[in-house]
């Protein structure tokens, strides 16, 4: 009792007031995630070129290298999607940890996540683009469309079962001025001894999957409500940020060109962003 009296003595009151005001002014204390109440989330995958929704099948874009190009098909995997709060992280498991997106299959563009998400505020979203090595098991998908993403065993080994990305299009190839297909495919890379691109010369594999971090999230999960998170893939970014990807240099197919895939993976970290988060009423 004496201790309390001493603490609240007149001399200490100004200090106490200062501390209290500092607490209120500095920042709002994050509310802890409530593990007893749950909401749901839904992802919508959108594909853009810069600030505009991507238009397909028309030679209307120019990348940083000056390649005039069109996009025809986009197919990819994201995995280990994780929501981060002040109090920890929540990895979305769904039935599996890997989700397939295909611009030509509308049902894949909306992911109604099976997991219940604890109510609370989340400030960061992260995911792996592609499939991490331990989960990229050859032949694990037997049904289309995921099956058709298989990455040949010769090129990926035992931990490279599937393409991370197929981005198919065409560009105006110079100097012939010919419209040429390109297949911007990402997956496990190969190290070839002596620079000879022959499967017998492969001395090792390179895991090219990478983590995408989307901080600054203002996601609030409310009880019994579904929150929609719109994720944008800005296709333009694959070709320019931070490294310019010139189709004239790398050509129309890169599955066996690790240097090209490396450039792509470097650019991949800025390809994704959150467009909006909302809770439909």
């Amino acid at each position: 009792m004496n201790y309390i009296k001493r603490f609240f003595s007149l001399q200490k009151i100004p200090i106490l007031l200062a501390l209290m005001s500092l607490f209120f002014v500095s920042c709002k204390k994050p509310e802890p995630v409530d593990d007893t109440k749950y909401g749901k989330i839904k992802f919508e995958f959108l594909h853009y070129w810069g600030d505009e929704p991507l238009l397909y099948d028309s030679l209307m874009y120019q990348n940083a290298a000056g390649n005039e190009l069109m996009i025809n098909e986009i197919q990819y995997f994201v995995s280990d999607v994780t929501l981060q709060s002040e109090f920890g992280s929540k990895m979305i498991k769904d039935w599996v940890d890997i989700y397939y997106v295909d611009k030509d299959i509308p049902s894949t563009l909306i992911w109604n996540v099976y997991d219940r998400i604890p109510v609370g505020n989340y400030h960061k979203l992260s995911f792996i683009f592609g499939i991490p090595a331990a989960k990229n098991i050859p032949y694990m998908y037997v049904n289309p469309p995921e099956r058709d993403m298989f990455w040949p065993i010769f090129l990926g080994g035992q931990n490279g079962g599937y393409h991370y990305l197929k981005l198919n299009g065409k560009w105006r190839e110079m100097p012939e001025n010919q419209i040429t297909p390109f297949d911007f495919h990402l997956g496990v890379g190969q190290i070839y001894s002596g620079g000879v691109i022959d499967v017998d010369s492969i001395t090792g594999y390179v895991q090219n999957y990478f983590t995408v971090n989307l901080p600054g999230l203002n996601l609030s999960i409310e009880e019994d409500k579904t929150t929609v998170i719109q994720i944008i893939m800005d296709v333009k970014e694959w070709f320019e940020n931070p490294i310019m990807f010139d189709l004239e240099v790398w050509g129309g197919y890169i599955m066996q060109t690790q240097d090209a895939m490396h450039v792509a993976t470097q650019n991949g970290s800025t390809v994704f962003s959150v467009k909006s988060i909302y809770t439909p009423q």
Binding site: D57, N72, E73, P138, Y139, Y141, V142, N143, P144, R147, D148, F150, W151, P152, I153, F154, L155, G161, Y162, N168, G169, K170, E173, E176, Q178, I179, T180, P181, F182, D183, H185, I197, V199, G252, Y253, I254, M255, Q256
Partner: protein
């Protein structure tokens, strides 16, 4: 144990409740459920409509109808025609370029009118839900499928039966006449009763039975299958060919035709594969989708039993596998509609050297499934019956 049974029951309930529009399953009295064996690595998603489950009796009936020339609705020896007339088991249920009835493997109907496209083999169709025929028009999403088809709503293998009976370039018959003729044969009335619970012969039952039989035509015992199962060792040339098949720096066949990750050897998707630069076929993929990117596009056919299913391409323009390999090596034709996976178009193709072509050919030979093409369960069930269509080889 009790708990796990419970869980399985709930799981099945959930699976079945996912599609509210699915037809209600009609149990068939006394028919014996047929357990389709799915080979390792093959799809587990099966194209079996809920209202046409496989039964032993249904498949047996379907096999008879598949081979019975009276499916044409006629009995004169010159007018007999069935599915087996053009879909010959020893030719991978394709026609075969050496077919004595159809020179060059180009089928024609009872009137002599040739089919607009070459024959697609009937193999592993139960694993395909992406449409049938070269342009995939037989598909549940196609609202324009001939509405005078009594089963036009089904848009599945069942619909192919109707097409075969009425098409001018096939049997050019009449469904009612066929039903009447088949219904007049005592043997069939018993078989329909066993398969469907009553002896009534209807078109719907006929098409269901034939579709059931076709869904059992699974090829999964080639050298390649054995290689994947660890039962066969590739020769060095076969292995080299396999590498060429699945690498972009090689022949890059796998993006459209599968491989170790897709043992069907087709994606069942549609591609303009750079055969032409002039288009106008009213039966290409564009005719189905109306999407200009599908102009001149056709389904990638399976490469299983490819040495038995000549001629090749939708118009049968190539007679040998060598010609096809040459085409993909050097003869690709540029057009604005060529599929983006044809990334070697400006080089004219994969530029394979003669030895590489030989390796690739040797690999393709490992896709021959002799056991499938001689499987007694798929053959003519009444080889001595004058009305039944025997394998001409």
């Amino acid at each position: 144990m009790k708990k796990s049974k419970y869980l399985i029951f709930i799981f099945i309930l959930v699976l079945h409740s996912c599609k509210p529009d699915d037809p209600i399953i009609t149990p068939i009295p006394d028919a014996t459920p047929y357990q389709l064996i799915i080979p390792p690595g093959f799809p587990t998603d099966l194209n079996i409509p809920l209202d046409n489950p496989l039964t032993v009796e249904g498949i047996w009936l379907g096999r008879h109808l598949f081979y019975d020339g009276r499916l044409s609705g006629r009995t004169h020896p010159d007018s007999l025609m069935s599915c087996a007339t053009c879909h010959v088991q020893s030719r991978g249920f394709s026609t075969g370029i050496d077919n004595p009835r159809f020179p060059g493997g180009q089928p024609f109907g009872l009137t002599g009118i040739t089919t607009p496209h070459s024959t697609m083999p009937l193999v592993n169709l139960v694993f395909n839900s992406n449409g049938y025929l070269w342009n995939g028009m037989i598909h549940e999403s196609n609202p324009n499928l001939y509405q005078n088809n009594p089963l036009y709503h089904r848009r599945n293998i069942e619909s192919l039966v109707w097409m075969g009976i009425v098409a001018p370039h096939e049997m050019y018959g009449n469904v009612d006449k066929t039903v009447e003729l088949i219904g007049s044969i005592p043997m069939y009335r018993q078989m329909f009763a066993a398969a469907f619970g009553s002896p009534d012969v209807t078109y719907e039952r006929m098409s269901k039975a034939i579709a059931q039989f076709i869904r059992t035509l699974i090829s999964s015992d080639s050298k390649f299958d054995k290689y994947l199962r660890g039962e066969y060792q590739f020769s060095q040339s076969e292995l080299n060919g396999f590498v060429l098949f699945v690498t972009e720096e090689g022949a890059d066949c796998f993006h459209c035709h599968g491989g170790d990750g897709n043992p069907l050897f087709t994606t069942n998707l549609f591609y303009n594969n750079a055969t032409d630069n002039v288009f106008g076929d009213p039966r290409d993929r564009y005719a189905v989708t109306g999407n200009p990117t599908d102009i001149g596009a056709y389904k990638a056919p399976t490469l299983r039993n490819i040495f038995s299913t000549a001629p090749y391409m939708r118009d049968g323009r190539y007679q040998t596998v060598d010609e096809v390999i040459d085409f993909y090596s050097h003869e690709l034709v540029w057009s604005p509609y060529v599929h983006p996976l044809m990334h070697k178009i400006n080089d004219g193709g994969a530029q394979l050297l003669p030895l590489q072509k030989q390796h690739l050919k040797n690999f393709l030979l490992t896709l021959q499934d002799t056991a499938f093409m001689t499987n007694p369960n798929f053959s003519n069930p009444r080889p001595d019956d004058q009305y039944f269509q025997n394998d001409p080889f």
